[in-house]
Symmetry: C2
Subunit: 136 residues, 2 copies
């Protein structure tokens, strides 16, 4: 009865830190988008975008400042650090590829948008390359 159980490919022990990384990716992407669209990014802009309270945003922004991804002073707009900007560009590119890929695959735009936002965080470099190849 002692068959050994194979461990999961993606260890669950990293679940919490993975979720935190996903949040970071979502936030830097959103901050970059808002700065592009309206010149600055406020805490309440993020709150409306993510449909959460400003308190949640405020705390996450603080954490991402500690991680050197964002910068802001109290009651001031949120900005990207160089590190955050670099990450945001990568995330945005990956997101766009995943979205275009799903549409090319035949998924309607609405569902492609919804699913791409969840899928993007789990697309590794090999899968991303395969998607790019498919798009060409």
């Amino acid at each position: 009865m002692k068959d050994k159980i194979k461990a999961r490919s993606v260890p669950f022990s990293q679940t919490r830190s993975r979720h935190a990384s996903e949040t970071a990716e979502d936030y830097v992407e959103a901050v970059m988008e808002m700065i592009e669209e309206k010149g600055e990014c406020r805490v309440l802009d993020l709150a409306r975008y993510f449909n959460v309270s400003h308190v949640t945003v405020s705390r996450i922004v603080k954490r991402l400042q500690d991680e050197k991804l964002l910068s802001s002073r109290p009651y001031r707009p949120v900005a990207l650090t160089a590190k955050g900007f670099k990450l945001a560009k990568q995330v945005k590119e990956r997101h766009e590829i995943v979205l275009a890929f799903l549409i090319e695959l035949g998924v309607d735009k609405t569902n492609a948008q919804i699913d791409s936002e969840g899928i993007e965080h789990h697309v590794g470099s090999k899968t991303l390359a395969a998607m790019k190849k498919f798009l060409k």
Copy 2:
């Protein structure tokens, strides 16, 4: 300066409950797999599979019992309820399709396994249908 910001396709307000649902899906799938492979599923089997402590598993199993997905008595194996079994079958089928899809797309098996475990939870019915079609 008052451009309105579009809300995200997948509201962030559902983040925590979405993560909890993903956990539920992972657990019922793992329980079904273990019962198939070795006849029963113990808390420690799940702990080893997910690379977490037995305490974490124990608490999650308790929550999933409250949600009528799992059943077990103290110091006893974990079993699926009818509801849990139904969910597990759906999750397993979706997982297999995503994995086969990534491999068909040209991703190596190792990376396909890793990415499919993250991606599967975010594949809606429309995307799943598109993947099925691609496989045929």
